[in-house]
Symmetry: C2
Subunit: 208 residues, 2 copies
DNA sequence: CCCTGCAACTGAACGATGCAAAGATTCGTC
DNA sequence: GACGAATCTTTGCATCGTTCAGTTGCAGGG
């Protein structure tokens, strides 16, 4: 297979030395590799190969592999927050909203396990280096926090505690399911919503 | 610095071609590197360097890097279960035992964050390949599960639910603290025990 | 219209890593 | 003391992240 014919995706008109839209193409290819081959097989070189450019090309758009991963993760956080917000709309009371938010969170983790690994994994532990990432990552937490904070008659300190407790429960379950340390369905309800409803019920007294 | 003098730890009597106790030495060096330089800098080559052997020597004792990491993780799980059991002894009721178990778990995660990352990280996701690892890893869960199961008047299904809920809460909080997505002390009690006591209180009705 | 400057991309290279294969050395055992 | 097995060394390969000196194409000023 000759190089110029094989490695070039043959852009419509004529041979293009410049790719033109490499940055979004890289991000798209990254997500694709993530779901098809897993996070451990997502290398910059494989990414460049999939996009039809040289291995050094990504460095024109990302300073680092970490910066690229951070961008992918940020897109993930965006989608996560969106899905959570979507599911929670239309719920009349705080309890219903919390249930939907958590269920959406866990479903997202299960459905996009590799992406979730990247988002909450160790490779982006230095998230502080990417301020926009940190901001986007906080949205999901803010959704839960906001619901709890908007209640009357519950002081701020109690709200902080509940938010953290619910967030921990939610995040922990997602992790355990992903690591296959636990099987959804081992408890009676046989589904995520059942467990979530029951877990949120623990806070029922305060949720009204 | 000449090689034979520098790279060899100079075992008491005379120069030894065979290290003699490479396997435990590797495991010890691995934990050392883990705490001093982090999981991402724990390479087989660095390990061999630290132990004073050639880069291929570890392969006489471990088939794989994963097998080595699995052994380190297993030791970690052993210590974790031990610490949990230690703290829980002497507690009169189920609630006290659960509180101590969880607090010990979270303290372990905070104190040994890199090791915890390894134990619950993605690199050992294929834990099924290491049956003894899976068994040891289950001990901590079993500790909590046993306390809850030994109560009178609570059916098995409710016990399963509570175990999973508490386990999720516990694991999730540990993860969040480690990832620095949350600061212990943001809630009133200003310490782990305070939060744990309060969180376990959510199950108070059933814990008696 | 050409020229110049700049951003995007190439090609080649460096060092590090996990791992395999083959040879050297020591240990345990008959 | 000899021999086979276990341990360790040497050498080498493929891959990876990253850097760097060039090459290519575009846009704007003369």
């Amino acid at each position: 297979m000759q190089d110029s014919a094989e490695r070039r995706p043959s852009f419509g008109k004529k041979f293009k030395y410049h790719h033109g839209a490499l940055k979004p193409a890289l991000l798209a290819a990254a997500e694709e590799i993530l779901v098809t081959q897993g996070l451990e097989n997502l290398s910059l070189r494989a990414l460049a190969r999939a996009t039809g450019v040289t291995q050094a090309a990504p460095y024109s758009h990302f300073a680092d592999k970490d910066e690229l991963l951070a961008a992918v993760a940020e897109a993930g956080f965006q989608r996560l927050a969106l899905q959570m917000a979507d599911e929670a709309t239309g719920q009349p009371d705080a309890r219903g909203r919390i249930e939907k938010l958590i269920a959406a969170y866990i479903r997202f983790a299960v459905a996009n396990d590799q992406l979730f690994c990247l988002m909450f994994g160790r490779e982006l532990a230095e998230m502080k280096n990417y301020p926009t990432l940190a901001m986007t990552a906080g949205k999901s937490y803010a959704l839960i926090s906001a619901v709890l904070a908007r209640r009357a008659g519950v002081d701020a300190e109690e709200t902080r505690f509940q938010t953290l407790a619910i967030w921990s429960l939610c995040h922990g379950l997602a992790q355990l399911i992903m690591d296959e340390r636990v099987e959804v369905g081992q408890f009676g309800a046989h589904d995520i919503d059942g467990f979530v409803r029951r877990a949120v019920g623990l806070f029922a007294a305060q949720l009204g």
